[in-house]
Symmetry: C2
Subunit: 502 residues, 2 copies
């Protein structure tokens, strides 16, 4: 007595629409918590988050969901494309969530929370021993999860797949290797070259003026203020609540305008992605960026490739001067351009420049891969970390606070996440290369502040698809080939040869 | 095989906690929609509202709810006070919602939406004929609802009870009658007296300075900025999302600082109520103001009784001058005091002063009562309206746009709502009178800007109870007597005799 497939499809779509409604309410709550929700209301708000997220979670693992998956999976050829792909997404989540015993998952969630607060203290005290037992447990849990979920070829692939579906250790080993071969010698050359002047960057630049300039650049990029807003927070972020409501935040440093301006452009890149997802996907789990890496490709394309291009500033340097209080009056465009592209090895990932950043990521990738293949123990991490920094960047942390303890990711159990940052940068350079074929006047567009054709190209090839295509599908259909590290390698070589007159 | 009552009570409390979680998410969504949500996201957000509110509604009328009501109602003496009162509240809603056939209610909701948009156009065109058929249907629906719900003594009582439980036509007839007997002659006398000078009020007062002054006053009142925030909107409001998160908004008119300052104080009065509800009630339907009228008593107490008192300005006039740009430099405190208490008859309720406001309400009450007792037809309303304005206020609308069409309430089907405004004012005056017995130094407190004991008195006698006491119970336990119009009558007589040197 099975239902007509179209009736069942309709029921399934209604069901996921409801789940997405909870997710949307949660997204708004998160945005609010980070942009000024009164602190005394937070405790009760957390309970609301608990109710809504457990409702959404239960729906994702319910018997009703199981029924949809069972009955519709056999007849996918009769389903609409959106229903079919949504079903796949739901199935993936269902299996992922169902395979972990509830009790174990609960323990893990508690461990995560404790680990994060211990990590915070350990980092402040630069005391790895304090954090080590927690990290060991987190790794052990994740190894067990991998055993539940299964893996192909390499255990670490299962973790990578959560952030960058389809991208494997084989692929990353190859591209990160090639990248390292370009960046490590480049970093060495640069450190011996004449350094750009940068002192003029750090003059007081009134916050309101920084804000006005950021607004102007966002508009130039094609960020739609009728589908978003810009607020101030300590930790900047972009959040897609729905495609008509994609908000970004930034922070302002009066003595370093780059924080807000490049930060806003970065979040703006994320936001353009979420604003331009096809409206057909609203109310489904497909209505979001397809992966961390593709998301990062959008933010890094705008922040690094576009907004650190000389042509971009041929248009915008005068605009910037208009908002600034005279700090650039005696600085040539060339010197300005060199200053915002300064690169030098440093210890802290989130403060790294655009050239050395990938090395920070590669180090983390190599460590995670070794960890999950039992080639290194948690207790050895500080030493391994420091050795790699010395080898790749030529500098060595003086303590674990500025070394292995610097990132929150592992404390939150997010293994497999880091590679996405560098993958995103590679995607960005590869997409730029493909874009140039369709927009041979790219530089001229930048010079004229005509950034809309660029956004449109990205919408056509990336944004619109949401999660209906996997990362490498996006890349391949946009660029005609698989992931290729040479584009980022070439981009970095050309760029920094120019900046440093190599 | 009935469950232990304590198990069932726990299940019931969890159940209503979940309902309240949906309500809290909805409250945040409403706040966000009114304070700058991007317009392109609204359509999808409305669907989220639909999902969450229908979920909450279904829970309020579900079989599970029926089971709780049936099984727990018989054993209320075994329940905690909070559970018992929550159950009563749920039962009341259950019965109210269950008695209307679903299909009829659906039709009514659609009618409301259409009526509001027609009303908007009709008001703009001052065309009552356009709106009349919609109003007729709205009245007819409400009459039918009354027949489903039943009534005691007067059909209109059923509508009153939705906004002001326990307050009946008998009570209102008496107090409104007494009030009218005081206000109508007072208005007449005042119109013949020397008018206060007011021109100095309408000078440019920078918005940022108005904001800073409003902040200072809110702090003086005891509004807790760790449990709230102040934003800007076209239509000011206060919203209790939870007691630790009670937000207010205001609007700024550069040429009339009174809009923001008295508006903020008004909303601040509402907010103090919601901020100081007992934490024991969080997560239950009792965690909100007990009625429209009691809520309004708090806002009107602060806005009119406290913040238009001479003693209040003995402290704050100098503060105001500090923020203003010289407009009060040559204005004595006495003249200032008279200017902010100017009273004269006008046609539009929301622009009315503190003396004549009650007359606007009395007119609406008399009309609604007549409507639901079949003593007047919808078609006759414009004429009835205009006649009453002439009789009570001495002025007659020139068209229905500034007459019977001015308020949105009827277009939204909110019959029985209006009386709360004037009841609130009466409650406020009566509460003030009782407060004086405990705080004989009330005026001195105002003179010193020490408003916290006043807030504490209100918390002790009103705020903390949330919805655990009915409006008249609050009033009686705080003041030792039932609703008595003489307090407001005396207050208005004394106040305006002083202002107008009668």
């Amino acid at each position: 007595m099975s239902k007509e497939v179209n009736v069942l499809e309709k029921e399934f779509l209604d069901y996921i629409k409801k789940m997405q409604a909870y997710e949307e309410a949660l997204a708004l709550i998160y945005w609010d918590l980070r942009t000024g929700a009164p602190k005394n209301g937070v405790e009760q708000r957390s309970k609301v988050i608990g109710v809504l997220s457990s409702e959404a979670f239960q729906m994702s693992t319910s018997e009703e969901m199981a029924k949809f998956i069972n009955e519709l999976s056999e007849r996918t050829e009769e389903l609409s494309e959106v229903a079919k792909l949504s079903l796949e997404e739901c199935k993936k989540n269902y299996e992922k969530n169902k395979k972990i015993p509830a009790k174990e998952y609960e323990e893990y969630v508690i461990l995560q929370a404790n680990a994060e607060s211990v990590w915070e203290e350990a980092r402040a005290k630069a005391d790895f021993n304090m954090f080590q037992p927690y990290l060991e447990k987190l790794v052990a849990f994740n190894k067990k999860f991998i055993s539940y979920w299964g893996y192909k070829e390499n255990k670490y692939n299962t973790l990578l797949d959560m952030y960058e579906p389809g991208v494997t250790v084989d692929i990353i080993d190859k591209v990160f290797g090639e990248l390292k071969d370009v960046i490590v010698p480049l970093v060495k050359k640069i450190s011996e070259a004449e350094q750009p002047q940068t002192d003029f960057l750090f003059q007081p630049f009134p916050v309101e003026q920084q804000k006005a300039f950021s607004h102007e650049i966002l508009k130039q990029m094609g960020y739609d203020f009728n589908s978003g807003r810009l607020d101030t927070t300590v930790h900047p972020f972009a959040i897609g609540i729905n495609p008509g409501d994609v908000r970004i935040t930034t922070r302002y440093d009066e003595n370093d305008w780059r924080t807000s301006v490049f930060g806003t452009i970065h979040e703006g890149g994320h936001a353009l992605y979420e604003q331009n997802i096809s409206k057909d996907l609203v109310g489904t789990p497909l209505c979001t960026g397809t992966s961390m890496g593709i998301h990062e490709s959008q933010s890094l394309f705008y922040e690094n490739i576009l907004a650190r291009d000389l042509a971009f500033w041929e248009k915008n340097y005068d605009v910037l001067k208009k908002y600034a209080s005279g700090q650039f009056d005696h600085v040539s465009l060339e010197d300005f351009y060199r200053s915002i592209n300064e690169a030098k090895p440093s210890l802290i990932r989130i403060e790294a420049d655009d050239l050395t950043y990938a090395l920070h990521i590669i180090i983390r990738y190599e460590i995670e891969k070794a960890l999950f293949n039992d080639e290194v123990e948690v207790s050895e991490l500080p030493e391994v970390w420091n050795r790699k920094y010395e080898e790749y960047l030529g500098i060595r942390p003086e303590n674990d606070g500025e070394g292995v303890l610097q990132d929150v990711h592992w404390a939150g159990g997010s293994f497999g996440y880091f590679p996405s940052y560098a993958l995103g940068y590679m995607y960005a350079a590869q997409l730029k290369n493909a874009m140039l074929k369709d927009l041979p006047n790219y530089e001229e567009l930048l010079r004229n502040g005509e950034l809309l054709p660029i956004k449109e190209w990205l919408t056509t090839h990336v944004h619109q698809y949401g999660k209906t295509k996997k990362p490498l599908e996006i890349l391949e259909s946009a660029t005609g080939e698989g992931l290729n590290a040479k584009y980022l390698g070439n981009y970095l070589t050309e760029k920094f040869s120019k900046v440093y007159n190599l």
